[in-house]
C-alpha cells in the first residue's frame, strides 16, 4: 500500500503537474513565472529570482521610483517580520525559564521576578504579533510594487486610461 501511494505521488510530481504549464510571452509587464522549477520575476526578457528576502523585485522595478520604494519596504518588512517572529517566542519562553531557573523559591516569586516574568511574556507576545503584522505588510507592499510598476507599463503602452486629474482645491 505504501509503495503504491508513493508511486502515485512520484508519478504526479514527475509528470510535471505541479509546475506551470503556460509559458508567458515576453511582454514588458511584471509577472511571476516558473522556469526549470524556479520561481522568477519576469518583465520582457529580464528575469530576477523570486525571493522575498532578496532585492530581485527592487531591481526589476528600479526604473519606477515609487515601485522601487515599495519593493524596498517589502524586503525590509520581510526581514523585520521573520526576526520578530523568531525573537518573540524566544523571549516568551526564555524569560519564564530564566525566572524559574534562578528563583530561590519558584512557588513564591519576588516582585522583581514577577515583573520580569510578566514583561517577558507580554513583550514576547507583542514581538510575535508585530512580526506577523510586518509579514502581512511585506506581502501588501510587494503587491503594491508590482501593481504600481505594471500601471506604468500599461499606461506607457496606452493600455490604461490616464489617471483622473485631482479635483481643484
Amino acid at each position: 500500500m505504501r509503495a503504491a501511494a508513493w508511486t502515485l505521488v512520484a508519478a504526479a510530481i514527475g509528470s510535471g503537474c505541479a509546475s506551470t504549464r503556460y509559458a508567458p510571452r515576453d511582454l514588458p509587464y511584471l509577472k511571476r513565472v516558473q522556469r526549470s522549477n524556479e520561481i522568477l520575476w519576469q518583465a520582457g526578457t529580464r528575469t530576477e529570482p523570486f525571493n522575498p528576502f532578496g532585492d530581485g523585485l527592487a531591481r526589476m522595478v528600479a526604473d519606477v521610483p515609487e515601485a522601487r520604494a515599495l519593493a524596498d519596504e517589502a524586503r525590509s518588512d520581510t526581514w523585520t517580520g521573520v526576526l520578530l517572529a523568531i525573537a518573540g517566542p524566544l523571549v516568551m519562553s526564555g524569560g519564564p525559564a530564566l525566572v524559574f531557573a534562578t528563583a530561590d523559591d519558584p512557588s513564591d516569586l519576588s516582585s522583581g521576578e514577577a515583573i520580569l516574568l510578566t514583561t517577558s511574556l507580554l513583550g514576547g507576545m507583542l514581538m510575535t504579533f508585530t512580526g506577523l503584522a510586518h509579514s502581512v505588510s511585506a506581502r501588501s507592499r510587494e503587491l503594491d510594487a508590482v501593481n504600481v510598476y505594471n500601471d506604468t507599463v500599461w499606461e506607457r503602452h496606452g493600455l490604461l486610461p490616464a489617471p483622473q486629474a485631482a479635483p481643484p482645491p
Binding site: 506551470t20 510571452r25 509577472k31 504579533f129
Partner: protein, 162 residues
C-alpha cells in the same frame, strides 16, 4: 495594564500599515491587492475574493476560457490540499500515538497486528501529507498560469490582436 498593552500593540502594528496603499485603476488586466477585507483580485474595477479555496479567480478571468480552466484547476487542487494535509497529519499522529501506546505495553511495538497498524497509519499519513504538499504547489502553479495567460491575452486583445 491591559489597556497599556493594547495601546502598545496598536502602536507597534499600525505603522506597519498592513494593507495595500495602492488603489487599482480600472483596466482590462488582473491584479491582486491586500484589502481590509482580505486579499482581492481586481479586474475592470471589480473585486473578487482571492481565497484559494473560492471561485474568485475563476470569476475574475472568466472572459478568457483557458485562463478560467486553469483557475478552476487551481481551486480544485487547493481543496484537495486542504483535505489531504490535515488528513495526513491526523494519520501520522494516529500512527505515532499507536506506536507510543504499544511501546508502553510491549517490548516490541512494531511486531504483530499492532505493529502493522502503526506502520500502515504512518505510511498512509506520510503519503497523504506528500500528496497534500503536491496539490498545494500545483494550485499555486495553476494560479500563476491563469493570471499570466489572462493578462497576456488582454494585452494582445487591447493591441488589436484576435
Amino acid at each position: 495594564m491591559n489597556a497599556a498593552v493594547a495601546v502598545a500593540v496598536a502602536l507597534a502594528v499600525a505603522p506597519a500599515c498592513t494593507f495595500s496603499q495602492y488603489r487599482p485603476r480600472p483596466g482590462p488586466f488582473i491584479s491582486q491587492v491586500q484589502a481590509l477585507s482580505g486579499p482581492q483580485w481586481v479586474v475592470e474595477g471589480r473585486s473578487y475574493p482571492a481565497s484559494p479555496l473560492g471561485s474568485g479567480l475563476a470569476q475574475a478571468v472568466a472572459a478568457v476560457p483557458e485562463a478560467r480552466a486553469y483557475a478552476e484547476e487551481s481551486q480544485n487542487d487547493a481543496v484537495l490540499a486542504a483535505i489531504t494535509v490535515p488528513l495526513g497529519t491526523m494519520l501520522l499522529a494516529g500512527g505515532l500515538s499507536t506506536f507510543l501506546i504499544s511501546s508502553a505495553l510491549d517490548d516490541d511495538p512494531l511486531s504483530g497486528g499492532k505493529g502493522a497498524l502503526t506502520l500502515s497509519l504512518m505510511a498512509a499519513g506520510l503519503s497523504a501529507s506528500a500528496a497534500g504538499v503536491f496539490f498545494a504547489v500545483s494550485s499555486e502553479a495553476r494560479q500563476m498560469d491563469a493570471v499570466n495567460l489572462y493578462n497576456d491575452t488582454m494585452w494582445l486583445r487591447t493591441q488589436g490582436a484576435p
